[in-house]
Symmetry: none
Subunit: 205 residues, 4 copies
């Protein structure tokens, strides 16, 4: 790729990258990272094998590109800060809804990315630093301020935040493993989860 800052060039380059990432999304989701061949991606993108290497250093870089795009997409979504404007419960529902929607809308993408991430340390590092850690940090920060405002109980911010985030991730994986209930009732999840998280399952005394 040229070093040129030519905006038209940049546009073309981005278009091609997008084209390749779109194809990769499809192919990885269908076959998984390992079983998908570079040729598969190229064919799906309607280009030659070699062309991919003009835009990505290697097959793994394509996956990283996918990860980054996932990340960027997510960045554009709602932030915790907005939570201050609503009551805590409504915010939790809205947050979980947004979160679940994002993660389930990209479920097949996650199916492609997760396996490689579990196995590939470099990829894992990227995901951990760029996505997980900021998200958890933001969550802890928000959680902490809610505690200070007396809106929620002070249980154990790090573990609670991780548990809630983990629940969302775990539900996705259940779904990816073939559980149908979860995705079928995706819309109900935010409220059920919020009830669970806020009130728990103990019976009213």
């Amino acid at each position: 790729m040229s070093e040129t800052q030519d905006p038209i060039q940049a546009l073309l380059i981005n278009a091609r990258k997008t084209q390749i990432l779109d194809a990769a999304t499809k192919v990885f989701a269908e076959k998984g990272f390992h079983r998908a061949t570079v040729k598969d991606i190229a064919r799906t993108a309607g280009i030659a094998d070699g062309t991919i290497y003009t835009y990505f250093a290697n097959k793994t870089a394509v996956l990283v590109g996918l990860l980054n795009r996932l990340n960027e997409t997510e960045q554009r979504a709602m932030h915790f800060e907005q939570g201050a404007l609503q009551d805590t419960r409504s915010f939790m529902i809205a947050y979980l809804r947004q979160r679940l929607n994002f993660i389930f809308d990209n479920a097949e993408m996650m199916r492609a990315v997760l396996p490689e991430m579990l196995v590939n340390a470099e990829l894992r590092e990227i995901y951990l630093q760029q996505i997980i850690e900021p998200t958890v940090a933001l969550g802890e920060h928000y959680y902490q301020s809610m505690i200070e405002q007396g809106q929620i109980r002070n249980i154990d911010p790090p573990l609670i935040v991780r548990s809630i985030a983990g629940t969302v991730l775990g539900l996705l994986i259940f779904s990816l493993l073939g559980d149908t209930q979860i995705s079928e009732r995706r819309d109900e999840l935010p409220e059920v989860l919020t009830t669970l998280i806020f009130d728990g399952i103990h019976p009213p005394e």
Copy 2:
């Protein structure tokens, strides 16, 4: 494999299978399913490559064998039914502890197995039918009986059970992705989670 029902034969066959699965456990945990070669497994088991094919149809079948064994191991562990003997809260703590221990003790195994499962439909089916569905069914059943006994609130058994199971799975994956908090504080998790699940995070009125 012969059709003979000779019990000595069967014993020998089982011994070899165990030997191979032990090796596979180690190798898959170290390298992941894809990076592990049949030769790796054979060497670790102290046998020849070809011998593996006497006991397993192919490399994937070895993973299936591992999954089945994981399943059996798990079956031998504490059951929900035992829950009836304790108060609900203590049971939940005990159950989560056992569950988390099992899953975190086999974390590296899960790292090897999960990716393949997410990508391989056949494997997924096995896991879904043999492990997830029975577990969830058992959970729902127990949950239901607890509701009937007035021990817990009737929120939405299918979703709540899946959420709790999902939380455990999600925490494992967080951990596998590099989060250190979770495994470092593994011992505290059962109680924190139980508090969350039973009481929620809402402040005392």
Copy 3:
């Protein structure tokens, strides 16, 4: 390339060719012919990959161009005829010095060119006809006239000339293979070789 005989055109074309050959010299010397890519040459020349194909039919043609230029450069150097002006011994020293300097100054170039020449018949033919044969013929001619003048013994002109030329080439290759003595003592070589060639190693009777 156009068929035009326009002298300005020709000048421009030559300038470009020179630019490319200069770049190729550098790149081939650094990486060798095979490892050097057309892109390497283009970047070093500050032009685009494709432009090279306007001036050279293919990568090998660039090497041929290099060879021709090497040849021309060499032609401009001292000639055997000049030898007539000096005494034979001094001329031999001067000739070997010039020869060794030329060949060792272009050692890395030779490292790049020789391998391809050994393997590529077309290239070999060019080198043989354009460089080796004229040089040997010139050498034989000079040698013959020295014999006639009684300056040297009549041993076997064709073989002796080839042996002397071969010695220079052989020393270069020794050096290219990693022998350090030769290039370290390059300056002493002309005299040592001349002594060897003229007087031999037999002890004085």
Copy 4:
């Protein structure tokens, strides 16, 4: 390859290696190292591509194997020490004859090996340490003892020995580049060279 010391195994392994090296000799000589494909070698050897990798780590290792075999073959040939038994001149003739025969008999092999050696540092190192340096050291040793015995003049052992060895190598390369005289008159070379080396070309006073 097994670690077993089983002599039958070892025999089979050696047979296969020989089979592969023979094929490689042929293919490399015909096409050169780079243009020769592993598939070419395999086909010529009558085996599958992959089989080569049971016996050699990679394509370069095959070349190294060739080099080693060349080396071993050479070891079996006449040694300098034997020179003591003859007069110096006869020994030089015999030595050069043996040397030239060896190098010209394996000319096509050299054509395959040399180019890669010039370009591949690892290979070069092997050749330098295993073949060139011992040969030169032996030569210098012999030359020194001849000086001490007053059989030859003391000119500059390191450079003279290298020059003589270089001449042989240089003549080979001339020949490989297409000069026909040298190989056609191979038989005459030892004597001509010996005359040159011992007596030089200066006219009798």
